[in-house]
């Protein structure tokens, strides 16, 4: 296609066909209109900011705009971190378990963890809290994980290791240190790690051609039990909300998570690492909260109403776990005054399953009086099939929302009732 190349050359006003091999950037000042100029003429490229302003006629050298030479030693000192390898820092802290996080204990709670994840390994030595900070939320292969925080229980302390990537070309080493840190882990504890942190780490490991040590581990993602308990009760289930509402921990001067990418980019682009300390602090609080959550969530599941959780959802979870007793207990413990319709129905259903009809009726009747259609249906069935009180059954059936099923029920009941009346007439 030399003709094509020539045409392209002409289109660009070049004297000769363009060289195929790309020249090193800005090796020589270009003679034809620069790419920037051509793009500007075409109405600009699609994205982003205008090209960085620079003095006219002063061709910036490529090196000047490449990654600045960054002094990691200074950064490490400022952050209280050690340099594990070029481009990889690690801050380690050992926090005594005796201290509390908010009003929550830091001790590992194997019973709580096994309650939330029945096949979780029981030994806290193998547990690993994990939380990442990323260059953004866009997803895909262009999103970096620049910080991985890990917390492990070691005797009387919770040991935090926070790996920080300070150079883009050091990612392989960064990931190798991460792999080493989780090599003996058996269980991951995270908050939304299943759909966020782990897929991103998997992508990074793939890109670096490293095996993924995380994907095979048991994983307790605490977002799921939090959602179960509080999705219908709280405006959101962000970790900060969980801390404030459940752990009694209020963050002070916290760097919002959304600003973490900018803090990292400021370091990468300009060597400005001032806000990376705040990112480390933010990440550490995340780790502590996740570490404290299982025990508190176990309490929530045992007694949801004490924490303002949704008893119906928790009861269903107990049911699915095969513990109808606890399900009934959870629902029964709720104050009838604040028990919602869903919880009342579930409790009535549980009573019915246990053939405790008076208890079930005691729940359905007030619901029906309040106009609840499902209660009318339950009562219509109960009176037609079990109590054999066709009149009452019909009375409830008539209150059902119009539809083919309701019509059929009413028709059948009317017919049965007529037959019963004829029979009783015939008997006279």
């Amino acid at each position: 296609m030399s003709a094509l190349r020539e045409r392209l050359g002409r289109l660009r006003g070049e004297a000769a066909p363009a060289a195929v091999a790309p020249a090193p950037p800005a090796a020589e000042p270009p003679e034809q209109p620069s790419l920037v100029e051509r793009l500007r003429r075409l109405g600009g490229a699609r994205t982003g900011q205008p090209p960085a302003a620079r003095a006219p006629g002063a061709p910036a050298s490529a090196a000047a705009r490449d990654a600045p030479r960054l002094d990691e030693a200074v950064l490490a000192a400022a952050l209280g971190a050690e340099q594990l390898a070029p481009g990889v820092l690690c801050r380690r802290r050992r926090l005594p378990l005796a201290q509390r996080h908010g009003n929550a204990a830091r001790h590992p709670d194997p019973d709580a963890v096994r309650l939330l994840l029945p096949d979780a390994p029981p030994d806290p030595d193998g547990w690993c809290v994990i939380d990442t900070e990323t260059s953004g939320l866009a997803g895909g292969t262009g999103t970096w994980v620049f910080m991985v925080g890990i917390a492990r229980w070691e005797g009387a302390v919770l040991a935090l290791s926070q790996l920080l990537l300070t150079r883009l070309d050091a990612e392989a080493a960064f990931l190798d240190h991460l792999r080493a840190a989780v090599a003996d882990a058996e269980l991951l504890l995270s908050y939304n790690g299943k759909s966020f942190d782990l897929p991103l780490l998997a992508a990074r490991l793939r890109l670096a051609a490293r095996p993924d040590p995380l994907v095979r581990l048991a994983h307790l993602d605490l977002l799921h039990p939090v959602r179960r308990a509080f999705a219908t009760r709280w405006p959101d289930c962000r970790l900060a909300s969980v801390e404030a509402r459940l752990l009694g921990h209020v963050r002070h001067g916290d760097l919002p998570g959304a600003e973490a990418p900018a803090a990292w980019l400021a370091w990468l682009r300009a060597g400005d690492g001032r806000r990376l300390g705040a990112v480390l602090a933010h990440n550490a609080v995340d780790l502590l909260s996740v570490a404290a959550l299982p025990a508190r969530l176990a309490a929530v599941h045992a007694s949801p109403t004490d924490f303002g959780a949704d008893p119906a959802r928790i009861a269903r979870w107990w049911l699915a776990a095969g513990d109808a007793e606890r399900a009934r207990g959870v629902l029964g413990a709720a104050d009838p005054a604040v028990r919602d319709t869903e919880a009342a129905h579930l409790l009535a259903e549980l009573h019915a399953r246990a053939a405790d009809w008076p208890a079930a009726l005691a729940l359905w009747e007030p619901l029906a009086v309040a106009g609840d259609a499902a209660a009318h249906e339950a009562l219509a069935k109960h009176y037609e099939h079990r109590a054999k009180d066709l009149r009452r059954a019909l009375a409830h059936a008539r209150r059902l929302p119009p539809g083919a099923a309701a019509e059929r029920r009413c028709k059948r009941l009317t017919y049965k009732l007529g037959r019963e009346m004829r029979r009783s007439d015939g008997g006279h």
């Binding site: 045409r7 006003g13 051509r38 075409l42 982003g48 960085a52 953004g136």
Partner: protein, 863 residues
């Protein structure tokens, strides 16, 4: 779905033909010939051209000896024990490691050309394949086809153990639920998707597809002929990215393309992947005798050149075919026309509601279930006549038919043949009729049968290095994998390093490492593929929102470049012939709010285009360097388009019934153009001796531009709006328009009228055809190369038009009475075209007679 094909079917082809019509009283061979003879007898003057392609017998080849035994058994279970010659050729080429493109006629068994090597490789070496189709529906069709083959052995007819082949074929598109995606990625042997999904969902997440890419052995691209223009240029870059990702995983897939007939399938495919591609074009499938008629509706008003509607003719032919018991398909160009023709035919054939319908409409906008039911009825032969848009042009399985009627020229020769190919059973004759509308393209085509019948289909062209498109995909590629210093981007001729530096300066990339060994990493918090649509150049399409009845419904999308001329406030915007009025245009929000209207007029924006030549790439002269010269050149131009107002034009009468103002910013664009000029001395002589005034000469240029614009669209395999036209001086000092009085006018830079004699300097009108995309998408260079042919085509179009003084089918609309002027717009345009053709002054006097003689077809329509 039945796994076993009917015994009568052709197993070489994915799609068995329908059972013969049960009510047949004569063999359909004779009935097709009867219909043809009847049409020829009764309507001879309307038939402007005829073509008969003789029947061709099948040429077979053995199944390859190396074929996996279970695949062989499955094929045998479906009745296939040998291949057509081209299917075997495709197999051999692929086994030799060549990329191939199979370009054989419709229903020649193209699908097996790619399924055979792919399925064999899946069975023998756990290879994986990616199939790309332009639409979701086609991918779903293909899944059904693969699963039928997969289950062929379950029928028990073969000696297999009643197992499936175990091949997992999944579609992956916008409808694939999130929880199914993982299974598609990790377990699919064959993933069927489309270029847009590859671009936006697969490549940016390639790590999730790592297993798939590691084993990717084949990329199958069906309907290759659609990958042209802007879309094709984008897809070429998507393939550059795909190949980069494949290289990362150590895969080097073989590409297998399937294409309808175009002039340059191998060239197009090679441009798409930047590597040589072998064409397999010699079909071994049998073909019945094929007849084609070009049909021009009769003239009913010779002065205005008004003809009977194409719709009336189409309906008549379809009616005759249906009455003969011939299965037929009607292609219409709009959904509305589909509905209208369907109604007219149903009024004849489906009057009894108790009988199953014989006529079926098929178009986009129907629910998928409705379309499926229609397809099934067609395959089963329960329907006699189907009326469709281009929706059935693609490879949707409807079985084969006897007659195809095209209501209007589809715009390209390739698309025409593809639609005509819907008719034609093996070993039986079939008939195609192309009915011309009054559009210039149609009229040109039908009056110059040699153009259509004699020339090969168009070249499909792409321009992958179009700078804006290229930048978009370099950005996406940098997101997917870091670039290394010195790394190229496919066969891209641009300096990749310079582009990366640009992206770094935008803050999207960061480079690390020593000189020559550095890497360019993506560091921005964005997902660039989401900002890039494969179907356009500039971003920011406008959406048209219908606010009728208090609701807000998006009814259409308008390209950024087309918006100022179509959705200005007050404009009548048509969707499927339903008029809407634009109430409000939100320019920055890219929204046009419209309401339904019953207006009896349409609107036509008045736009003034100023062109300034920035750089001339090449120039050619006609006439040997004398003062008789006409020159043609191409190069880069700067274009300013202004829309000061619009005209309201009443339907049918085309009276101008009012004006409105348009308040929009000027549109500026850099693009490429081809332009024609006359030597000033020649023009001055022509003005003195032929035109009488500069204004008349300018009118001639405007008419010539109109004709050239349309024939150029024909040559460039482009739509008319892909090109723009203008007449001016090339310096931006003046430009020409047709005034409200129908006369040519010259306007100055601010649109003020200027008198031709006052124009400063030389009077050198320049006729431009420009590429209507920012930066150009490569349309102008081929037009420059074909400039002489274009002028000859335009001359033939105008001279051969049946009108008296000019009409929308040749030089553009004229005002009533213009045909009686001393010099009609048509004569003026012919004079200019003659000069541009290099005929010099000598050509002017004898222009008409000579041209008419040269191009007169053997059977002039309605002569």
């Amino acid at each position: 779905m039945s796994a076993i094909a009917p015994a009568s079917s052709d197993p070489h082809c994915a799609r068995p033909p329908p059972a013969p019509a049960l009510d047949a009283t004569a063999p359909s061979d004779d009935r097709v010939r009867d219909l043809l003879a009847g049409l020829q007898r009764k309507y001879a003057p309307r038939i402007t051209g005829e073509l008969t392609l003789p029947a061709a017998p099948a040429r077979f080849a053995e199944l390859p000896a190396a074929l996996h035994p279970r695949l062989r058994a499955a094929l045998a279970a479906r009745g296939l024990t040998r291949l057509y010659a081209h299917q075997r050729e495709a197999w051999e080429r692929v086994q030799a490691g060549e990329h191939i493109v199979v370009a054989t006629p419709t229903a020649s068994g193209k699908t097996l050309c790619y399924n055979l090597p792919v399925l064999d490789a899946v069975l023998t070496r756990q290879a994986k394949a990616l199939y790309l189709f332009p639409t979701k529906a086609l991918a779903q069709d293909q899944v059904a086809e693969l699963s039928a083959l997969n289950q062929a052995l379950l029928g028990g007819a073969a000696r297999g153990q009643g197992e499936t082949l175990g091949i997992k074929a999944f579609t992956f598109d916008g409808d694939t639920p999130g929880d199914a995606r993982k299974a598609v990625r990790t377990r699919g042997d064959i993933v069927l998707s489309n270029p847009d999904m590859l671009h936006q969902a697969i490549l940016p997440h390639h790590t999730k597809w790592a297993q798939f890419f590691e084993s990717l052995a084949f990329v199958v691209v069906d309907e290759l002929h659609g990958y042209r223009g802007v879309f094709g240029s984008h897809v070429a870059n998507v393939f550059r990215r795909l190949l980069r990702v494949c290289a990362f995983y150590g895969a080097r897939p073989i590409f297998i393309f399937a294409s309808a007939t175009i002039a340059n399938p191998a060239e197009l495919a090679a441009r798409l992947i930047g590597a040589p591609v072998t064409a397999v074009t010699d079909s071994g499938a049998p073909r019945g005798e094929r007849h084609l008629l070009l049909w021009n509706p009769p003239v009913i008003d010779p002065d205005l050149g008004i003809r009977a509607s194409a719709r009336s003719q189409t309906t008549r032919i379809a009616r005759a075919a249906t009455k003969q018991g011939l299965k037929n398909i009607v292609f219409a160009r709009s959904r509305l026309m589909v509905e209208v023709i369907t109604k007219y035919l149903k009024d004849v054939f489906d009057r009894d509601p108790r009988r199953p319908p014989r006529v079926l409409a098929y178009r986009g906008g129907y629910l998928p279930s409705e379309r499926r039911a229609g397809e099934q009825a067609l395959r089963a032969g329960r329907v006699d006549c189907v009326v469709s848009t281009s929706a059935l042009e693609l490879g949707v399985d409807i079985g084969a038919l006897d007659v195809a009627v095209l209501n209007g020229y589809p715009g390209t020769i390739a698309a025409t043949w593809q639609r005509l190919g819907r008719a034609g059973r093996r070993n039986r004759p079939c008939l195609g009729v192309l009915v011309a509308t009054s559009d210039p393209l149609d009229q040109y085509m039908v009056r110059h049968p040699e153009f259509f019948l004699g020339s090969s289909p168009e070249h499909a062209r792409i321009h992958p290095d179009q700078l804006l498109i290229l930048m978009d995909h370099v950005r996406c590629a940098a997101f997917e994998l870091p670039f290394r210093d010195g790394e190229g981007f496919g066969d891209c001729a641009e300096d990749v390093g310079e582009m990366l530096a640009y992206l770094r300066d935008e803050g999207l990339l960061q480079r690390t490492g020593d000189e020559g060994r550095g890497q360019w990493f993506w560091v921005a918090d964005s997902y660039p593929a989401n900002a890039v649509s494969l179907r356009s150049v500039a971003e920011g399409n406008f959406v048209v929102i219908d606010t009728s009845g208090g609701k807000q419904t998006i009814i259409a999308e308008v390209d950024y470049s087309g918006a100022p001329g179509t959705v200005y406030e007050g404009a009548i915007y048509m969707v499927q012939s339903q008029p809407y009025q634009v109430e409000r245009l939100d320019w920055t929000g890219r929204k046009a709010f419209v309401t339904r209207t019953r207006a009896d007029y349409y609107t036509d924006a008045i736009d003034y285009t100023k062109l300034k030549i920035l750089a001339e790439f090449d120039r050619a002269t006609k006439g040997g360097g004398t003062s008789e010269d006409a020159a043609v050149a191409h190069g880069e131009v700067h274009l300013v388009r202004r829309y000061p107002g619009y005209k309201k034009i009443r339907y049918y009468s085309h009276d101008n019934i009012g004006y409105g103002n348009i308040e929009l910013p000027d549109q500026e664009m850099h693009t490429t153009a081809v332009w024609w000029q006359l030597h000033p001395r020649l023009l001055e002589r022509a003005v003195a001796e032929r035109f009488g005034s500069r204004e008349r000469a300018v009118e001639g240029f405007l008419g010539a531009a109109y004709a050239l614009h349309h024939v150029a669209a024909l040559r460039a395999m482009a739509e008319v709006p892909d090109l723009g036209r203008a007449v001016g001086d090339g310096q931006g000092r003046w430009f020409a328009v047709v005034g409200a009085d129908g006369r040519g006018q010259l306007r100055g830079p601010d649109n003020q009228p200027v008198a031709a004699p006052d124009v400063m300097g030389r009077f050198e009108p320049t006729l431009f055809l420009y590429d209507n995309y920012p930066g150009g998408v490569g349309l102008s260079a081929p037009l420059f190369d074909a400039a002489a042919v274009l002028v000859a085509d335009a001359l033939a179009l105008v001279a051969g038009c049946a009108c008296t003084g000019g009409c929308p089918a040749c030089v553009g609309p004229i005002l009533p009475g213009d045909e009686a002027r001393a010099q009609t717009p048509k004569q003026l345009a012919l004079a200019v075209l003659g000069l541009l053709a290099g005929q010099g002054m000598a050509g002017l006097g004898v222009q008409r007679a000579e041209t008419a003689q040269r191009i007169a077809p053997a059977r002039r329509a309605d002569a």
